[in-house]
Subunit: 229 residues, 2 copies
DNA sequence: GTCTGCTTTCTACCATACCAGTTATTGTCG
DNA sequence: CGACAATAACTGGTATGGTAGAAAGCAGAC
């Protein structure tokens, strides 16, 4: 028996965990609007628990910058920070470009089939119109790029960047034609990768990520009250 | 009077804040070694406060992945994750390369004096041997690069990446000759920027950041017990 | 009508008590 | 002596009461 064995199961879910998840999705799906006051006692009563787990959940949300705890005053749902959004998008662009370069330099072709299958599934998805799956496949495509570049860890970074703009995307419509554009991008990106054309791949990656910019600008203009700065 | 004015002063420091800072620096300076058990009751007694603020501080440290709270078992100081370190370094490299490219494309020369002064101060620093200042000036140099690229926000990202490897650097010596190498790098980087030579600037940026890799490898090999994975 | 100062009410913060798991210890039995 | 089971000690999780501080409302003075 090695005492340094760590139990990684971590099955126990506390009340605070549940509350945290609940509040987090509520905030991210904008069911709780920026500026909403979240008092400990209030939330506790609402969910029929004591103030303590509420408090802990709020502390964790504060760390994620989803709420702002103002000691002795109030806890409110934060507005979205334009600068944070800018930063997340800058990081993602930088990372994806580096992925692109490394993929061109190191990719050995072993994922060709996986890429092909992924894109086929995306096509199928557009026909059935199930967008939830499309998002999953989109993520998978970028994960494959990371793997092709020999940076499997990098998908975590991309996920983190996406998480920071997620709340904002709820405000935009899911447009079938934009999904088609994304799929087209993916085809072009794969093509450039297969021909190891770094310049073209970088250009297309940049263009691909810029598709979101229009959406973001739109949302920021039409929901000014949800933003800081 | 606009009621939406938010008081940003946020002067109030709670007991939990103090504890958090204290424990955080203790962990980062390795005064608290990875694997150390931090029981709430224990810490509370040590600092003569109740368990409550201790608990809150620990939750925040858990979010930063500096400790791991295992419900009903124990809270321990986390080992450093090699994969997290890899990720942080990958992000930093990607970002600095993008900064380099943008700086070459957009820099208008208005920071020439600031760059020069910064490098002069770094030279002076090496002569006096005050390394604390050197770190500050090193950061300033990279901040200037961000500004030259028109991405002032990006320095925040770099700071975050640095924070994730900080704890590890405590284990290495501060070597005067390596500081000299860093300064030499900075001179070469500035030169490439001034001549708008993108390829060279990227190559030198990459080389510059790789200097830390040797240190990290060394630490990881000689302190295997401080790391995960 | 406006300003000032008090009071009331709300907030998050902290202390304490208790609970439910986990771990370590110890004592028993084969 | 060793395996194992009962139990004691300890862990973090939750509930609750009290406190200090901030905001809002109100009353009185000017």
């Amino acid at each position: 028996m090695n005492t340094s064995d760590i139990d990684l199961t971590q099955v126990r879910r506390t009340t605070a965990d549940e509350l945290f998840d609940q509040l987090r999705t509520d905030i991210e799906k904008l069911r709780l609007r920026p500026g909403t006051k979240l008092s400990e006692a209030n939330v506790a009563q609402q969910y029929s628990v004591s103030r303590q787990p509420v408090r802990e959940a709020l502390i964790r949300l504060d760390n994620l910058e989803l709420v702002q705890i103002r000691p002795q005053k109030a806890t409110i749902v934060r507005r979205m920070s334009k600068s944070t959004i800018r930063q997340a998008r800058f990081v993602r662009l930088s990372v994806e470009l580096e992925i692109a370069r490394r993929a061109c330099a190191h990719y050995d072709g072993r994922l060709d089939e996986a890429f092909q299958e992924n894109l086929n599934q995306q096509s199928a998805c557009l026909e059935t119109g199930i967008f939830k799956d499309f998002n999953r496949l989109d993520r998978k495509f970028h994960a494959l790029l990371c793997e092709a570049a020999g940076c499997v860890d990098a998908i975590d970074i991309i996920d983190q960047c996406k998480a920071k703009v997620d709340r904002l995307c709820v405000l935009s419509l899911t447009d079938p034609s934009s999904a088609q554009s994304i799929l087209d991008d993916h085809h072009r990106i794969l093509e450039s990768l297969l021909s190891r054309d770094v310049e073209q791949l970088c250009a297309q990656t940049e263009q691909h990520l810029q598709r979101l910019d229009a959406t973001i600008d739109y949302v920021q203009q039409n929901h000014e009250d949800y933003f800081d700065e």
